[in-house]
């Protein structure tokens, strides 16, 4: 009880700090310089309608690469821990028939939706991460439906690796070949503003991210479900 009271007191202190900020907080009326630049010059510079996307993929592309890396690391840790504590004999309850059927039906649909989301990231809300998550949820559904079914882990990891490599390679190409720096999206023509094949590398990178995130999250889910990616390796 004393501990709780003390915790309360300390969180109160923290709250006071935050309150301090809230009290001084005034909603912005104008954009900061950099943000204004993104809004005003961004579409012309990068050719992406969704400014958030251009910020995510290009302006702050290194963050995004880091973000992908984090997910990659998290997936690796999950894989590692599950790998270290393999439990082969666990019997898993099968999902109901309805679930099975539904998942078989829904699986390609969800995949397509996911692909749509990341392919249109530069035009509308959404992008690689959201699309990837949607793809992963398709896998979740399948796993829920038939937990004992082996999913193509190898395929997943190949997709993940290749998309990751391609991402890095494209980024490096920006620094190495045509454009001005790492992760510059302008190594291919920007195309016509507002169309699917525009904004240079952005849709490609988002696709790669989508694939990578999707496969990573899927493998996390599968791992947590109790299988290791390369059981056949042993």
């Amino acid at each position: 009880m004393i501990k709780k009271a003390f915790t309360f007191l300390m969180l109160g202190g923290l709250g006071a700090m935050l309150l301090n900020f809230i009290l001084s907080f005034r909603e912005r009326t104008a954009l900061p310089e950099v943000a204004a630049h993104y809004i005003e010059k961004g579409p012309a510079e990068l050719g992406s309608a969704n400014i958030v996307t251009s910020v995510v993929v290009t302006y702050r592309g290194l963050d995004t690469l880091g973000e992908v890396t984090i997910l990659f690391a998290a997936a690796a840790v999950v894989g590692l821990l599950i790998h270290l504590n393999r439990n082969e004999n666990a019997v898993r309850r099968e999902g109901s028939e309805i679930l099975k059927t539904a998942s078989a039906l829904l699986f390609p649909l969800i995949l397509m939706f996911g692909a749509y989301v990341f392919l249109n990231g530069h035009l509308s809300p959404g992008g690689g991460f959201q699309g990837g998550a949607i793809i992963a949820s398709a896998v979740v559904l399948t796993v829920l439906a038939s937990p004992n079914r082996k999913i193509g882990h190898t395929v997943l990891s190949v997709i993940e690796s290749i998309s990751g490599l391609a991402y890095v390679a494209l980024g490096a190409a920006g620094a190495l070949l045509v454009a001005n720096g790492f992760l510059d999206n302008r190594i291919i023509p920007l195309g016509e503003f507002g169309t699917l094949f525009s904004a240079g590398l952005i849709p490609i990178i988002y696709t790669l991210i989508g694939l990578k995130v999707g496969s990573e999250l899927s493998s996390v889910v599968i791992s947590l479900n109790g299988e290791t990616i390369e059981e056949d390796d042993q």
């Binding site: 969180l11 973000e67 999950v78």
Partner: protein, 116 residues
């Protein structure tokens, strides 16, 4: 006004999440606390970029200058932060599962093998 409400809500979520992480001995619920903590932070971040009456920073037409857009930068940051949050949550849960398998309990104060 919306911004202030959002900051306040975010702050409250931060505190509630921390309270949950600090007082629940159950590891799963500590992790839930952390996700709430994260959501709070995200709210605060977005509200910092919010501009009254601003629209989403998606430009449908290159020529319509003069529309007030909200700041895209915090949104980009939050996007990143959410994914990081997912990574960390997945990670914590994997730990939790493994810890449970090793010890058969999920109470944080049962994991004091290392101290002093």
């Amino acid at each position: 006004m919306i911004g202030t409400i959002a900051v306040s809500t975010g702050s409250l979520l931060v505190l509630v999440g921390l309270w949950s992480a600090l007082t629940n001995r159950d590891i799963i619920r500590m992790i839930v606390g952390f996700t709430i903590f994260d959501v709070g932070i995200h709210l605060i971040m977005i509200s910092v970029g919010y501009i009254s009456g601003g629209t989403a920073p998606i430009i449908s037409n290159l020529s319509d200058i003069g529309v007030s857009y909200v700041d895209p930068v915090p949104q980009a940051l939050v996007l990143t932060a959410i994914v990081i949050g997912l990574g960390i949550t997945a990670f914590m849960l994997t730990y939790a599962v493994n810890m449970y398998e090793k010890k058969g309990t999920l109470e944080i104060d049962k994991f004091e093998e290392l101290k002093w």
